[in-house]
Amino acid sequence: MEINYFEVLRAGINTTFQDEGRNNLYHIGIPFSGAMDYRNYLIANKLVGNESGSAVIEFALQGPLLKYQGSQINIAISGDVNFELKKGNKKFQGNCYESYTLDNNDEINILSTNKSVYGYLSINGIFDIKYQWGSCSVNTKANIGSNSGKKIKDLQKINIKNIHNNFTKKKLDFINTKIENIRVIKGTNFNYFSEKSKKDFFSKDFNVSKLTDRMGMRLEGPKIENIVDTNIKSEGLLKGVIQVPADGNPIIMLSDHGTIGGYPKIASVVSADYDKLVQIPPGSKIKFKEVKLSDAETLFKLYEIETQSLISKIQ
């Protein structure tokens, strides 16, 4: 039997298997997980002719260096990613949103994401990995999902079970738009904060701190002053919810967040802005803009139409 695999020569900072994540488990304490930037995840799969829902490799900031062993395979990378391909003695810069064919001994070197955080590597095949509750998505906190619930490590092998026969070269003309203004809906504890802080929240800049990962985005800026109680009775959280702990620095819950928490909720990021929010790298400035629920619903519909139209352009 032929064996196809990637040898991980360098794992990168936070490289994990991801797919659409898992639902219906919050009540037992297991978060959604899944690809952080869902749109780019969908595009990566379509570029290699995969079914939606297939597993991809997600990387953050610095990605992996992979050496391929096996019979021909197609790969694609989505995001704003600087990467090189090595085919035989030839080394060249790769383009995102374009599929490439790899042969035995070829290498992919994912150097960095440009002014963004996450990127996705897809293959026209199936990784030989474990699924839990129907998803391979890794949750490192509870060691759930593929790869024993852990990040991909240096020198490990990533086995590929099956390569399908779709080798058509695919390409998409697409540039990710960046955002600084994050649209939010007021939270259930908005009135826990002083008048000045409510104004600051919607007018001042916040800095994305280095302590940002798949669980949460920590912000620094004007201190958000609580005038009621810095704790609430622990209750459910969702991705996009912005909590303010006693120190006054907001935290935005991201895909691997704890399922319950006891800090007041000042606001929630609208669904339409989530994919772009997670791509804002540490050190950047962001601002919050308030929108009404009905506007948020419309924004999501438009975002969804745009995503579907991008996907349908890849043939």
Binding site: N24, I30, T188, K233, E235, L238, G261, S268, V270, E297
Partner: protein
């Protein structure tokens, strides 16, 4: 039973059952949670019951807040109380190698170790919710004279299986994780098992729990050492 339903962001309903944290309020939360869950609606993504809230997140591609609100207002609530309860006995070893914060608790509530443990093991507890990390149960209520605040500085690593108390609640750390609860013992029982996908949690909201004191020898035996 629900006092108010509001939106949390654009893809979730936030159901408020009142300010009280007691068994009665929480039982109402759990009844709603189970009634909705039993329907297996494909447009509902997640349900998070807690002491006095139920958060329902939904797929914005398939529905929206006003439809979900109507649905919650008209849902038929399960009457069968049996759905709510299972009784579980959790063995706990309070050997000094496990009861990391017992001296702190003794000092704070002015009771001796044997008095604290006697009280702790004599009671039956109710599971209000599970979560934060996978499978962690929030159990109550501790007697008034047993209540102690969180550690001023949380531990970076609380050992797996640690049994902690804070304020009116007890919990079990299902994973080694950071945490600020006062640790008084450790259980060798597997409270969360990801390989059992149908029933990963040993303890679920609505269950009743009692703790049984075991010796270090019994602990090692159960733990397979």
């Amino acid at each position: 039973m629900i006092k108010n339903i509001s939106n949390l962001g654009d893809a979730a309903a936030y159901c408020d059952f009142g300010n009280e944290v007691d068994k009665k309020t929480n039982s109402n939360v759990i009844k709603f949670f189970k009634s909705i869950k039993n329907k297996n609606f494909d447009f509902i993504k997640n349900l998070t019951p807690s002491y006095n809230k139920l958060i329902i997140s939904f797929d914005l591609k398939k529905t929206n807040f006003s439809k979900i609100k109507k649905l919650i207002e008209n849902i038929e609530i399960i009457k069968d109380e049996k759905l709510l309860s299972k009784h579980i006995v959790v063995p706990v070893c309070c050997d000094s190698s496990f009861s990391l914060d017992i001296e702190r608790v003794e000092e704070k509530i002015k009771l001796k170790k044997n008095e604290i443990l006697e009280n702790f093991f004599s009671k039956e507890y109710f599971c209000y919710m599970t979560g934060f990390v996978a499978g962690m149960p929030f159990l109550g209520d501790l007697d008034k004279n047993m209540r102690v605040k969180r550690l001023e500085t949380p531990r970076v690593k609380v050992p797996k299986g640690s049994v902690g108390i804070t304020e009116q609640f007890a919990n079990v750390y299902t994973f080694e994780s950071p945490g600020g609860w006062n640790i008084i013992g450790n259980t060798p029982l597997e409270i969360f098992n990801a390989n059992n996908e149908n029933e990963p949690n040993l303890i679920n909201p609505g269950d009743s729990i009692s703790f049984k004191m075991i010796t270090i020898e019994e602990f090692k035996k159960i733990n397979g050492n």
